[in-house]
């Protein structure tokens, strides 16, 4: 081992870090080499000088100055929240994931098992039907609307009934809001849907001249204009019988509206025969009917005949 090699090992040698063989090699060389021995001694003294240096005293003001310089440690609010929510993250995050999964499964199960969640939302029947039920139209279109209304209400009540049958309601007295509101706003509908229809049919058949003339739109229900005529007679029953006989003979129809009020529907082509037969029977109508009066598209002449004493 040469001098330079030995000098490179001196620091490790003094630290006691060399293995047995290198250490002996250094020691053997130093014993024989005065210069390397001198270097070893100088290095020893250098290290001893450094290790002999003691600590310097800390200024008494240092600690206070440092503590005065620090600001109170305030954790930002979002750090506090994040810390509370997520930290330690390896503990809280798995728990939160499992909890989220359980809640999701629970929601799905609840949705599937509870019919009120799976049913489609009810159409706003009440709000739509309420204004319709306020006005009772007398036309065919109005009748259709009302029939539609009745059908909706019937469906609503049926649906409500089904729900009540399916589930034991916790609050059975709470009726379905839609059905209740429907009944309230349309009192004549619902259970009375059929009578309402019949009444409407009767109303259509009630073709009293005054009413129809005032309320019915022209050409709506009565195809042909009515002819108001008067007939003087002291025996209304006999007159009605005779007139009925004549009209039926001409293949017409007679409706007795009141005791002295008849509606006559006479084929237009037989109208003159009707007048002749009437005259032959000793009856005269006033004012004298137009000849020929306006007929319906089916070829029928309609007369509103009132018997006067």
């Amino acid at each position: 081992m040469g001098c330079q090699d030995v000098r490179n090992q001196l620091s490790a040698y003094l630290e006691g870090e060399l293995e047995v063989a290198p250490r002996r090699a250094v020691e053997d060389h130093v014993r024989q080499c005065v210069r390397c021995q001198g270097e070893l001694v100088l290095l020893q003294r250098t290290i001893a000088l450094l290790r002999g240096l003691d600590e310097v005293e800390v200024p008494s003001s240092l600690s206070a100055a440092i503590q005065a310089g620090i600001r109170p440690r305030r954790r930002r609010w979002w750090r506090e929240v994040a810390s509370w929510l997520f930290f330690p993250i390896h503990v809280k995050l798995p728990i939160q994931a499992v909890a989220l999964l359980l809640v999701s499964l629970g929601a799905v199960y609840l949705y599937r098992s509870a019919p009120e969640f799976s049913e489609a939302p009810q159409p706003p029947v009440t709000t739509e039907s309420a204004p319709r039920s306020e006005a009772v139209p007398s036309t065919a279109a109005g009748r259709a609307d009302r029939l539609d209304l009745a059908a909706r209400q019937e469906a609503a009540e049926k649906s409500s009934g089904q729900r009540e049958a399916q589930k034991e309601r916790k609050v059975p007295e709470q009726e379905d809001a839609a059905a209740r509101a429907l009944r309230k706003s349309a009192p004549e509908s619902a259970a009375s849907a059929k009578p309402a229809e019949e009444r409407e049919a009767l109303r259509e058949r009630d073709i009293g001249a005054q009413v129809l003339r005032k309320e019915a739109p022209a050409g709506a229900t009565i195809a042909a204009p009515l002819q108001d005529v008067m007939l003087e007679t002291s025996d209304p029953a006999r007159a009605i019988a005779r007139i009925t006989e004549i009209v039926r003979a001409l293949e017409g129809k007679v409706e007795v509206k009141e005791e002295r009020h008849l509606i006559l529907m006479i084929p237009a082509k037989a109208y003159s025969h009707f007048l002749t037969a009437l005259k032959d029977s000793g009856y005269a109508v006033s004012p004298p009917p137009e000849s020929p009066p306006a007929a319906s598209p089916e070829g029928t002449v309609t007369l509103s005949l009132r018997l006067t004493p």
């Binding site: 290095l43 240092l62 440092i66």
Partner: protein, 199 residues
């Protein structure tokens, strides 16, 4: 005598203090200061050679440590982490302030006012004590002539007594690099002190 740094690894009692500081306990920070300020102040003093500058740097280091505490991962001892911050801060300061600190402080510090008096043997004669004080001043002066990198390993190893592993961690160096750098630094200082060491 030189006080040797005792740096623990696992079960570091400083870790508990760090946790308390992070929880807002300022008293815990005061405890950390008490435990480490002397060590850091001495490191700074040996690095810059002036008490005032060492005091400033020590204060700056601890303020920096306080702010950086949330980032401390406890993978190493708190003291090692503290030394790393101190070392980096010191090197930056020396670069930033130029050689002003190193040269002026290390050469103008009066020997009599130098607190480094441990080498002075109280039982020695007045001549011997004067000689010892002068020798300490010379050591400090020659130490300042080294590069900061060489000075740092000498301070940490021969003055403060850290292990090679601790120095490697604090200076972020390989273990072998620490050993070779330490040897070169010692040999260089020996050469600079040669005239004072030879009998």
């Amino acid at each position: 005598m030189t006080t040797r740094a005792v740096i623990s690894g696992g079960g570091d009692p400083d870790h508990d203090l760090v946790d308390r500081v992070l929880g807002g306990d300022r008293q815990a920070f005061a405890s950390l200061l008490t435990r480490h300020q002397k060590r850091i102040f001495n490191f700074m003093y040996r690095m810059v050679g002036e008490r005032g500058a060492a005091e400033d740097l020590t204060q700056e280091v601890f303020l920096k440590v306080y702010e950086a505490l949330p980032g401390f991962r406890k993978a190493a001892a708190f003291s090692t982490w503290l030394y790393r911050i101190a070392h980096n801060h010191c090197l930056n300061a020396l670069k930033g302030r130029g050689r002003e600190i190193a040269v002026s402080a290390l050469t103008k510090e009066p020997a009599n006012g130098n607190p480094v008096t441990a080498l002075v043997d109280p039982s020695a004669s007045p001549e011997e004590r004067l000689e010892q004080r002068e020798l300490q001043a010379v050591v400090q002066e020659k130490l300042a002539e080294l590069t900061p990198e060489h000075r740092a390993v000498l301070v940490l190893r021969d003055i403060q007594g850290l292990s090679y592993d601790e120095i490697a961690t604090a200076l972020e160096l390989e273990d072998g690099t620490v050993r070779s750098r330490l040897h070169r630094a010692r040999m260089e200082l020996k050469e600079r002190l040669r005239g004072y060491l030879e009998l």
